[in-house]
């Protein structure tokens, strides 16, 4: 799961900085009309194993998991389709993203009996990535129809029956202009997640060093983590940054730039650290500004109240006093209308006072 594109690797080398902590998510993407990715199964749990797609035959590749109620409910109907188109269509159920042990999944399939009347296999980890995530699918059950030429004719959550009939009648016309959808980092995050206990320990260790101002030790510890497990290191990027910014501004600036370029999941929190740190070079705040201005238009962002304070602070540090006052005032106005906002209001008003009292023009 530790994947780095060579291009990114090169870029990081060029900037003189190796960030071990930025995993590159789901690089590939597939769309309707593309050649279907391979069938790559760890174990076949039911029916005849399928090695590849035969010319002239249509396949339904159905992704499911034992935690998914709608998937389980759909199974009898897939069996009906398999029987209805017996000689023309092969239905394959692929279990993905399931942490249930293999033998439990096998006994689940056995217990379902006739309700699963088609071939079933267990993903070896590549199909969830190459089919499900690469297609930008967000939920299961998701069905793919592979046509007589081995191309993806359709995929989706509803409308399988209609589309299957069309494909069998040769009625599909592929819209090759359809844009590919990117994979979802959140799902990959689940697949890649190391035991959170490891991250806990790493984070605790780093905080200990920072408290004692042993920044060099913190950096050395992080470097060692990078070599051992990039995924664990990725979980403590923010803590590492807190240590780095205290001893090496130049290095932390390129680290920060890379976080933003790669849309690392810690970019906003690292920004919060940047914004509240005195005496940084102007470049830090310019990057923060570029990140925060558009972000604040997206109201869905987690932990957003902090960013509402962060942007005015960035303006203030860049000497844009009027903008700082405007944006914090806007936040104060919102807080005043809300029940229970008193505590946040106090903090925001403190910032406003500081901006107004400053001699900056």
């Amino acid at each position: 799961m530790k994947k780095y594109s060579s291009l990114k690797k090169q870029l990081l080398v060029i900037t003189g900085l190796w960030i071990c902590s930025i995993p590159i998510y789901a690089q590939r993407s597939i769309k309707i009309g593309d050649k279907a990715p391979e069938i790559s199964v760890k174990h076949w749990l039911k029916g005849e194993p399928i090695k590849n797609f035969e010319n002239g035959k249509v396949y339904v590749v159905e992704f499911w998991a034992t935690w998914c109620k709608p998937c389980i409910e759909l199974m009898p109907h897939l069996g009906e389709l398999a029987r209805q188109y017996k000689d023309k269509v092969q239905v394959i159920g692929i279990n993905i993203l399931d942490r249930t042990p293999k033998d439990k999944i096998a006994s689940f399939v056995r217990e379902m009996g006739d309700k699963i009347d088609y071939t079933v296999g267990l993903d070896d980890g590549t199909m969830s990535e190459n089919w499900f995530i690469s297609s930008g699918s967000t939920g299961i059950p998701t069905s793919f129809i592979v046509d007589q030429q081995g191309k993806i004719a359709w995929y989706g959550n509803s409308g399988l029956d209609v589309m299957l009939a069309k494909v069998l009648n040769g009625e599909t016309s592929y819209d090759l202009t359809e844009k590919t959808k990117p994979g979802r980092p959140g799902i990959m995050r689940y697949l890649m997640m190391p035991q959170s206990e490891e991250i806990n320990l790493a984070s605790e260790k780093l905080y200990e060093f920072i408290e004692k101002k042993d920044y060099d030790k913190a950096l050395a510890y992080y470097d060692a983590l990078c070599k051992d497990s990039a995924a664990v290191a990725a979980g403590v990027v923010d803590v590492y940054f807190e240590a780095l910014i205290n001893i090496d501004q130049k290095k932390s600036l390129s680290f920060y730039k890379n976080l933003i370029q790669n849309e690392d999941r810690w970019q906003y929190w690292v920004t919060w650290i940047v914004v509240n740190k005195e005496g940084l070079s102007k470049e830090f705040y310019l990057h923060a500004k570029k990140l925060l201005e558009p972000t604040l238009l997206d109201k869905s962002w987690l932990g957003q109240p902090l960013l509402r304070e962060a942007l005015p602070e960035v303006y203030f540090r860049l000497g844009e006093k009027d903008k700082a006052i405007d944006t914090i005032q806007d936040w104060i106005d919102k807080l005043k209308q809300l029940e229970g906002g008193e505590y946040m209001l106090k903090l925001a008003e403190g910032r406003l006072k500081r901006y107004k009292d400053s001699k900056m023009h």
């Binding site: 034992t66 109620k69 967000t138 997640m193 959170s196 605790e204 932990g303 109240p305 903090l347």
Partner: protein, 144 residues
């Protein structure tokens, strides 16, 4: 505090992102803080409670990273309109929430403010037609 967060979390029902998480910290007395993690769930979707067995769907689970300046007090409490029913697809009782559920954790500060507390939430959401695969989102709150 609760109203504040909800009013800020403007969202539309969306297949892409049916659950949105918001985290905040509020000081109580005696160096104690309350961390509130709120799941805002799109119409028709639900997420599972923390308190279910290992079989079937993934229960929601919240972990806080250890931080020497903060003691975690007790367990994560959940507040919402809990639904519970026997689910024959899984052979277990499932517990789940529509619309909104809050996960509340009390912590005690034993160092200096401000302190940043890190955590992650693992969860899965479903509606009548589909389920999102279990995923993990990181969050942070600043005690200040």
């Amino acid at each position: 505090m609760m109203l504040l967060i909800i009013a800020l979390t403007v969202y539309k029902a969306s297949g892409q992102q049916p659950v949105l998480w918001t985290a905040s910290a509020k000081p109580l007395k005696d160096n104690t803080f309350e961390i509130r993690l709120i799941a805002s769930i799109s119409d028709g979707w639900y997420i599972y409670s923390q308190f279910m067995g290992n079989k079937g769907p993934l229960p929601t689970s919240i972990t806080y990273k250890k931080n020497p300046s903060v003691d975690i007090l007790g367990k994560v409490e959940e507040i919402g309109e809990l639904k519970q029913k026997y689910e024959s697809s899984f052979g277990i009782d499932v517990k789940y929430y529509y619309n909104k559920v809050e996960f509340i954790q009390q912590v005690k500060l034993n160092g200096k403010l401000p302190v940043t507390l890190n955590g992650s939430v693992a969860y899965m959401g479903c509606n009548a037609q589909m389920c999102m695969p279990p995923q993990v989102e990181d969050f942070k709150v600043v005690l200040r």
